[in-house]
């Protein structure tokens, strides 16, 4: 392992998991119970690492009897997501409910509106094909801007990819976002029914780079892991004893009908590189030292930092609250 003169190394992301968990548990108790006056927690669980860690934290903060885990599958969800979510709930003795949001999405025209746009790009697209959108990979080697491509996959596995025109990109994203917004609406139903709070699951990568849907998965009462890099969320998962199957699963979007990892959809590089470059950048560590810690060139570090900055600037809108003419005191 390379360590630089400032002590910056791959270990710089390491947390004291026990004290961080205590800090988050106290934060949840103080804000949910005493500030928001809610008596428990509703968490949407997907079988992914973030919602699993949040569920485990809530069970510690409120007791498992005051936590409900809601599975929110739709017709394109991976069946593995539900299996893992059940495994998780069993591990932490938390009540679960399944709310299939497919009828709501059909009613809203989610799939139809999305597929209309896909068909304008690939006229031969059929309902039994799968689709996904991705950013250019290989961020370390190429300074490509964040322009999305559409990939369609035929039942025989053959793929076609094409750059998305603006209108089709916007329609695919807007239609797909019905999924996260339908989930948010259902979570608030269950929270209001019990006088519970909706606990958000975005981590720091998602919150700061804008990898969430405004008023979708970004809609919650409190974000207990919004300050943690993805690789730190994995550290808490190990400490909290989240099932190993969940810890080992590659993070996916579970939004597009063709499976898409978060790396290919949005981040463009592995988390272990992104998080460390980002941490070094936030701490004003010189680029040559970040590069040395990761065995990268300074140019590669510069490309990663530029991509972080661009995504943060480009997604200010997502983090903005409604603007009032005369803000309340």
């Amino acid at each position: 392992m390379t360590e630089t003169t400032t002590g910056f190394s791959r270990r710089s992301l390491e947390l004291d998991a026990a004290s961080e968990v205590d800090r988050i548990v106290a934060f949840l108790q103080e804000n949910v119970l005493r500030r928001l006056h809610r008596q428990g927690a509703v968490v949407g669980i997907s079988g992914g690492i973030d919602s699993s860690v949040v569920l485990a934290l809530c069970a510690r903060a409120f007791g498992s009897q005051r936590v409900v885990g809601i599975l929110l599958p739709e017709q394109e969800s991976s069946p593995e997501s539900a299996e893992l979510a059940h495994l998780l709930a069993k591990r932490f003795d938390v009540q679960t409910m399944i709310e299939d949001i497919t009828p709501a999405l059909l009613g809203a025209g989610c799939y139809r509106r999305r597929d209309e746009a896909v068909q304008r790009v690939f006229p031969e697209f059929e309902p039994d094909w799968k689709s996904k959108i991705t950013l250019p990979g290989n961020l370390l080697e190429e300074d490509r801007l964040n322009i999305f491509s559409l990939t369609v996959i035929k039942p025989d596995g053959s793929e076609q990819t094409q750059r998305l025109p603006l209108r089709e990109y916007a329609q695919i994203v807007a239609a797909s976002n019905f999924k996260q917004r339908a989930r948010m609406a259902m979570l608030y139903y269950h929270a209001e029914l019990r006088n519970y709070a909706v606990i958000g699951t975005p981590n720091k990568n998602e919150r700061d780079m804008g990898f969430f849907v405004k008023y979708g998965d970004g809609g919650a009462d409190i974000n207990p892991i919004g300050h943690l890099f993805k690789s730190q969320v994995f550290q808490l998962a190990r400490y909290l004893d989240v099932p190993i199957e969940i810890q080992q699963r590659p993070p996916t979007t579970d939004t597009y009908s063709a499976g898409s990892t978060q790396e290919e959809f949005f981040y463009r590089i592995p988390f272990e590189i992104l998080d460390l470059v980002w941490l070094g950048y936030e701490r004003d560590v010189p680029r040559e030292e970040i590069a040395a810690a990761l065995s990268l060139s300074e140019d590669q570090v510069g490309r990663v930092i530029a991509d972080i900055e661009r995504k943060r600037r480009a997604t200010d809108y997502l983090r903005a609250h409604p603007i009032n003419l005369d803000p309340a005191e």
């Binding site: 190429e142 300074d143 801007l145 750059r163 603006l166 661009r310 600037r313």
Partner: protein, 86 residues
Amino acid sequence: MNSAEELLRKYIADNILFSGQGYPYADDTSFLENGIVDSMNVLELVMFVEQKFGIKVEDAEIVPDNFDSVARLAAFVRRKQELTAV
């Protein structure tokens, strides 16, 4: 005939900045560093230059060297037009 720079400045001022006072930056001001355009706007600019200047922009050409300022984008457009003309 308007230069590529003039057409780009007007397009960005009217459709992206809504400035009401033309394009208020120097031609070499970085779009990305100054938040003048975001990634959706880059896609918009790709479509604008393809339609307006009759060029085809390849995916690998959508890089800051070509799309990060009025000056860079205008130079890119001229290079592509020359290649098309050959």
